[in-house]
């Protein structure tokens, strides 16, 4: 679950319920920045992200009566934004099962892993401080099929647990775990040239 990072954005529900234009604008202005960033991370497209955030706010305005303040407003809006982004992906048929065979780990006929030796593993900081490498990492994440990428993002980056990701996507927890593990393995393969220090940016 995303943490309640900013309690200052936690507008008291009584005020929110008083469908007041000023409060609505305040809510939009206080939250639209991080909601756009979240939607763009999930959709990898600015235009789609803006549409999804608009949908999310409409859903939030409609659902305000049901928001009982049991979570922070931010946690509640976070989930609504994720749902809006997921429904965009569904509408674009980007959440169908997609093959990723060439990015899966390899084993020989004795069930032994095939893995070239790693004599060097690039330190985290040396990748993060290089803008070009960060761009390449982002492009590698984009290269994952959406059905895997989205599970990796929801669990490893947005902070939802396995059960919550299963509910958001309408799949089993087992399926979430399989997809997450494959996504991480595929990303490891895609990032190999960077992690081995063969690409220095």
């Amino acid at each position: 679950m995303p943490d309640d990072r900013s309690r200052s954005q936690n507008i008291p529900s009584a005020r929110v319920r008083a469908k007041d234009d000023v409060v609505a604008e305040e809510m939009v202005r206080a939250n639209i920045g991080w909601m756009l960033a979240l939607a763009e991370r999930l959709l990898r497209d600015r235009g789609l992200a803006q549409d999804a955030v608009q949908e999310a706010f409409l859903a939030a305005f409609r659902g305000l009566d049901r928001f009982e303040g049991r979570s922070s407003l931010k946690t509640w809006l976070h989930r609504i934004t994720v749902n809006a982004a997921l429904s965009t992906l569904r509408r674009l048929k980007r959440l169908a099962e997609q093959p990723m065979d060439e990015l899966l780990p390899e084993f020989d006929r004795y069930e032994c892993r095939i893995e070239a030796p790693w004599s060097y593993l690039s330190p985290l900081e040396s990748i993060l401080e290089n803008e070009e490498l960060r761009g390449l990492v982002g492009a590698s994440i984009d290269a994952l099929p959406d059905t895997y990428r989205i599970v990796l993002q929801l669990r490893d980056i947005e902070g939802y647990d396995t059960e919550e990701v299963a509910t958001l996507l309408g799949i089993t927890e087992g399926n979430v775990k399989v997809r997450l593990h494959r996504a991480r393995g595929a990303l490891k393969k895609l990032l190999e040239p960077i992690l081995r220090g063969e690409v220095r940016g």
Partner: protein
Amino acid sequence: MTDKQNTGMWRRFKGLMLKNMHRMLTCREFEEFVLDYLDGTLGQRQRSMFELHMRICRECRDYLAAYRRAMAVSQRVLSASDEPVPDDVPEDLIKAILESRKQ
């Protein structure tokens, strides 16, 4: 004997050993446990088998190290782009959202 034959024989030996010896995991079985190992949800017996395999198998040890580094890199790169500067928020989008609320 060439290096290649030597490697092939070693892999065959290793495969048979891991498959048949008590409390050993094959690399494929190791693969199935990676996620639960990192989540800390393996039972004690499974965890010790997992860790034993890592000590024996250079390939899986290397693989897991690179897998974890790839995870850390992608987490940090994606979460770094979290908060955009306020100028990034288009004013016309805010207007459109507030307009559509009234309809």
